[in-house]
């Protein structure tokens, strides 16, 4: 599949390239359009090979985990990536962290392409982009004291914090994420899930990064602890001017933390825009279905809620449908949907592009502030 057909109209591709990015995601960032984004991802593609033994030797198939994704991220901004299992949101995080090599595409971080950097430059880059993982039980080395876990980045990157100051800095970081400094001598198994996630955040902060990629950071946490971690992330952002890419399947969590949201379906962004645009004025049927399916803690209104229940199953990313990948579950699908892949363009001058031939504005009522 050609990566050209991803997020821009093929006919005016060149002019858009010159302008540097097209409509995709340059809107409603806290910094004006003129400012250079912190991160600009362009046509990111990641295919995983799958080997199938055919009758005449091995035939190679591909899982199209990410199939042409472009977005911008500005300084101090949070971009939420939301979608169902297998939509490729975590793969984006892993390729940006260089835990996986992308199949093609580019990601300009402060103007440098992350994907073409040498190994040595990647190490230097680690200082500026950090990651918080989903599973707080598996993401900390069980054999290392918390103090050593947090200080390890300084051992790996000498010269940032001198050895004699490390102890104090660890204590300060622990206190910043809401843990007592005495915890530095304890081991990860002595902490609860929420506390471990705080430790993970403290380690991510140790190198004073500009960007933190959070991959489902609260989905393994108990409900009463989720809010603590979300609030902590927001506080840190305001204080340190961090940018986040916040990946989650929980629409409510994503809304709470994000400035802008990109909705993903089968390796592509189907709609992107400001948080209020996506949640209050969705235009893509998939976004509308997701929002209507999300359970709201509101038993009074449940009878009146009109719910779009999608029929059928998520198609396989090995063999995605032609044209629009959502058409097999879409109630609006017509023949054009199977022939033409809809481009991600602003269809209502709302500043939020969506990839649907039949995009339609839906105004959702906001919940009253009880």
């Amino acid at each position: 599949m050609s990566i050209d057909s991803s997020c821009r109209r093929a006919d005016n591709r060149r002019t858009e390239k010159e302008r540097g990015g097209g409509e995709t995601g340059t809107h409603s960032g806290p910094v004006g359009e003129a400012a250079e984004p912190l991160l600009r991802v362009k046509d990111l593609v990641k295919y995983y090979p799958t080997e199938r033994k055919g009758f005449l030797g091995a035939r190679r198939g591909e899982i199209k985990a990410v199939d042409g994704v472009s977005f911008d991220l500005h300084r101090g901004e949070t971009l939420g990536l939301v979608g169902e299992t297998g939509c490729g949101k975590s793969t984006i995080a892993r390729t940006l962290m260089r835990l996986e090599e992308p199949t093609s595409g580019a990601a300009y971080f402060k103007g440098r392409d992350l994907f073409t950097l040498s190994k040595a430059s990647v190490q230097a880059l680690r200082r500026e982009i950090q990651m918080v993982f989903q599973d707080p039980f598996a993401s900390l080395n069980p054999r290392m004291e918390v103090g050593r876990i947090i200080a390890e980045p300084w051992v790996v990157h000498p010269g940032i914090v001198p050895k004699e100051e490390q102890r104090g800095r660890v204590n300060a970081l622990l206190e910043r994420v809401g843990l007592p400094a005495t915890d530095a001598n304890r081991y990860p198994h002595e902490f609860s899930g929420g506390q471990r996630q705080r430790i993970g955040i403290a380690r991510a902060l140790a190198l004073q990064p500009d960007l933190i990629i959070c991959d489902e950071p609260v989905s393994a946490l108990d409900a009463s602890v989720q809010a603590q971690v979300i609030n902590l992330l927001v506080e840190l952002q305001t204080e340190l001017g961090l940018s986040y890419i916040f990946i989650a399947h929980d629409l409510a969590v994503v809304r709470q933390i994000s400035d802008r949201v990109a909705v993903m379906h089968l390796g592509r962004i189907v709609e992107v825009g400001g948080e209020d645009e996506i949640y209050a004025r969705p235009t893509h049927p998939y976004t509308q279905a997701l929002l209507s399916a999300a359970p709201a803690p509101d038993p009074v209104g449940r009878k009146e809620r009109k719910r779009i229940v999608l029929e059928g199953e998520l198609p396989s990313p090995v063999n995605p449908p032609s044209g629009c990948t959502f058409r097999t579950r879409c109630w609006k699908a017509e023949s054009i949907c199977s022939q033409d892949r809809p481009q991600l363009i602003d269809r209502f001058d709302h500043g939020h592009p969506s990839a649907c031939h039949f995009a339609e504005l839906q105004i959702l009522p906001a919940a009253g502030m009880a």
Partner: protein, 681 residues
């Protein structure tokens, strides 16, 4: 740990490693485990004695092991010494050259242990390094190493050793080299397997993201986590090497005479087996006991270092042991007053005998007896469910919501879990009292349960059709043909597309949502009166979740069955439940009609949960949050279990456990200040 119950599952790296985090802690844990398992003292003391003997042979041996005395040829044990140099008798007799057997055994221990330790060190280092490299880097190195392993594993080790020794000659270091070359693959295989799984762990990826070099990741992050399995392996290997060395010495290819080795002592004693039995018996015993002690030690190390094994081992103990532990660990006991109060409040929920009551749970208590003490999972909960109603049991991990349902279904893992009190009346029959066979019949026919993960709940070896049809064959004696026809009908009813074709497919051929439909089809096959759904949609995507919840609601409407929905998701509860019971630390803290509770919660925990939940339809400036974390069930706070996290807390709360107060005629909450909670909104 916030979720101690996870330990019962026993897998997952977190649970595995929580047992032995680091050097000093491990030593303390080992000593404690040793104290509990006093029998292990024997092999360990034997090994200690052996090591002391090997190190201090010069001091301990009563005679020179090379000192020949032809007058004492084959002297029996305890025979007095023939020469005047020493008055000490031949403790274990003398050999054909008149050498003291006991002294030779002590010197032999030095040889055996030295060969054993040196060989294990050499083969271990080689194997672990190769295993780490091939597991971490994979690629061609992995191919080469693993093919080498395959080839070497296919050749009998002793033959290979003999062949190499034949080429290079005998001697201590040659033996060590031979063992290194013939035993390394044991370590390589284990190390590679573990490394492969660890390199996918988030903590290793985390190390990558902070810029750790490969060697730092291998030696600082992966290697320390391999310590305990490798230690077990190495202990076993010492025994194997000592046995192999004895074998080689027996064949004359080990350490050369006159150095005393156990293997050659056995070989030499063979000729005198009828005339001087001690010559072969004592070295043989030494070999046997050493190998046995090492094997026992390895088995014991494996048990204490692996929580899953430790659990089983602990559970094999006699009941009296539990009680002993229970007395010391009883961290939480319910005061009588609150129990009576709770019963008083029950008429409010309509306790009186009533035909509508499908299930009535009264003061249910469950605890877990674990190696670390008693865990109070369910501490006296009561609820009722009427026909056609949906009761949601809402709680976080470790709140006891699943355990209480498993107790009702009679599917608790027992041990470690035990029902310690209460009743569960289903249509007047106490499910906790009836015989297992009667309960089994009841639970298939009239009560059914569906689980969070349909992939593990369905048997992967059978087609989905046969698993649904099994319900009819088992309980109704329906013929296979007819049962399959009914299975197709049911699959249609839960809206699995093209049911007729898919009835012969296996569970793995279905997606998560379809598998959950299969589970539901099997559960409703016999038209149960009660369906218990344990987090039925947690593993599913939000669009599929909506489909499944809609299906359940429709089925309930059609059949009039009662539904207990166990979940942590406030939104799911709001969508389907009539009544809700909120659980915290093994107790119901608030119960009543869903709409009332959501609009004016009476317990600070419920209120906190509702306020802290992010919403799809509104973005808040910042989320209200509940401070702290759910309690460890081994140490539930005194008084009200929620008081350390509560914003309404008063002195009274930490002393007096709040009873389940009647808030209104159909609502109750266990908070001393429920009135304040309800009115400050």
């Amino acid at each position: 740990m916030s979720a101690p119950l996870q330990m019962t599952a026993g897998d997952g790296p977190a649970a595995r490693d929580s047992g032995e985090p680091a050097g000093n802690v491990t030593v303390r844990k080992l000593l404690r485990a040793l104290w509990r398992d006093k029998l292990m003292l024997f092999p360990l003391l034997f090994l200690v004695a052996l090591s002391v003997a090997a190190v201090g042979a010069e001091l301990l041996a009563p005679h020179d092991p090379f000192d020949q005395n032809l007058r004492s040829r084959n002297a029996p044990p305890m025979a007095s010494h023939a020469s005047e140099t020493s008055s000490f008798p031949y403790l274990l007799g003398a050999d054909p050259l008149g050498r003291d057997l006991f002294s030779r055994l002590i010197y032999g221990a030095r040889v055996s242990l030295a060969v054993g330790l040196a060989s294990v060190l050499a083969s271990g280092t080689l194997g672990i390094l190769l295993g780490l490299m091939s597991g971490y880097h994979r690629g061609w190195l992995d191919d080469v190493v693993m093919r080498g392993v395959d080839v070497l594993m296919g050749i009998p080790g002793l033959l290979l050793a003999l062949f190499i020794l034949f080429l290079v000659g005998t001697g201590f270091w040659n033996l060590v080299i031979v063992f290194a070359l013939t035993r390394w693959m044991i370590y390589a295989r284990v190390t590679r397997g573990l490394t492969l799984s660890f390199r996918e762990q988030p903590f290793v990826e985390g190390a990558q993201t902070i810029g750790c070099s490969d060697s730092r990741i291998i030696f600082r992050h992966i290697l320390p986590n391999l310590a305990s399995p490798i230690l077990v392996l190495a202990t076993l290997e010492i025994a194997i090497v000592i046995l192999a060395e004895a074998g080689l010495s027996f064949l004359g290819m080990g350490i050369q005479p006159p150095a005393p080795t156990w293997g050659r002592m056995v070989a030499e004693g063979r000729d005198y087996i009828t005339s001087a039995w001690w010559l072969i018996t004592f070295p043989g015993l030494a070999i046997l006991l050493t190998a046995l002690s090492l094997n026992l030690t390895a088995a014991w190390l494996r048990m204490v270092s692996d929580p899953v094994q430790r659990w089983r081992w602990f559970m094999g103990r006699s009941e009296s042991r539990h009680e002993g532990d229970g007395e010391t660990a009883l961290a939480y006991s319910e005061p009588r007053s609150s129990r009576t109060n709770m019963e008083n409040s029950e008429p409010a929920q309509g306790r009186a005998a009533n035909g509508d009551h499908l299930l009535e749970v009264i003061d249910l208590r469950v605890n877990f007896r674990t190696p670390d003490g008693l865990l109070n999972a369910v501490n006296g909960i009561s609820y009722t469910l009427n026909r056609g109603q949906t009761l949601a049991i809402l709680g976080e991990s470790g709140s006891g919501k699943t355990v209480s349902a498993e107790a009702v279904m009679g599917i608790l893992d027992s041990p470690p879990a035990f029902v310690t009190g209460g009743a569960a009346l289903f249509d007047g029959i106490d499910l906790l009292q009836i015989s297992p066979s009667r309960r089994r019949r009841l639970c298939g026919e009239r009560i059914a349960m569906i689980f969070q993960d349909p992939l593990t709940a369905l048997n992967p070896a059978y087609t989905v059709g046969s698993q649904i049809a099994g319900m009819f064959q088992e309980h109704r004696g329906t013929s296979k043909r007819e049962a399959t026809a009914k299975a197709v009908e049911l699959m249609d009813r839960v809206r699995i597309p093209s049911a007729r074709e898919r009835v012969h497919d296996y569970p793995h051929q279905f997606s998560g949502g379809m598998r959950q439909r299969v589970m539901i089809a099997a559960a409703i096959a016999l038209d149960p009166d009660l369906l218990i759904a344990d987090e039925p949609t947690t593993a599913l995507d939000v669009t599929v979740q909506a489909q499944i919840m809609e299906l359940l609601a429709e089925l309930q409407l059609e059949t009039g069955m009662g539904l207990i929905l166990i979940t942590h998701d406030l939104g799911v509860v709001a969508d389907v439940a009539d009544n809700v019971a909120v659980m915290y630390a093994g107790k119901i803290v608030e119960t009543g009609p869903i709409k009332d509770i959501y609009s004016s919660p009476a317990h600070p925990y419920t209120k906190g949960l509702l306020e802290s939940a992010p919403r799809v339809d509104r973005k808040m400036d910042s989320l209200q949050q509940i401070s702290g974390a759910p309690p460890n069930l081994r140490f539930i706070p005194s008084g009200c279990p929620f008081h350390p996290r509560c914003t309404y807390v008063i002195d009274h709360c930490s002393v007096e456990p709040p009873p389940l107060y009647e808030v209104r005629h159909d609502r109750s909450a266990s908070c001393h200040r429920f009135e304040d909670v309800m009115h400050v909104n």
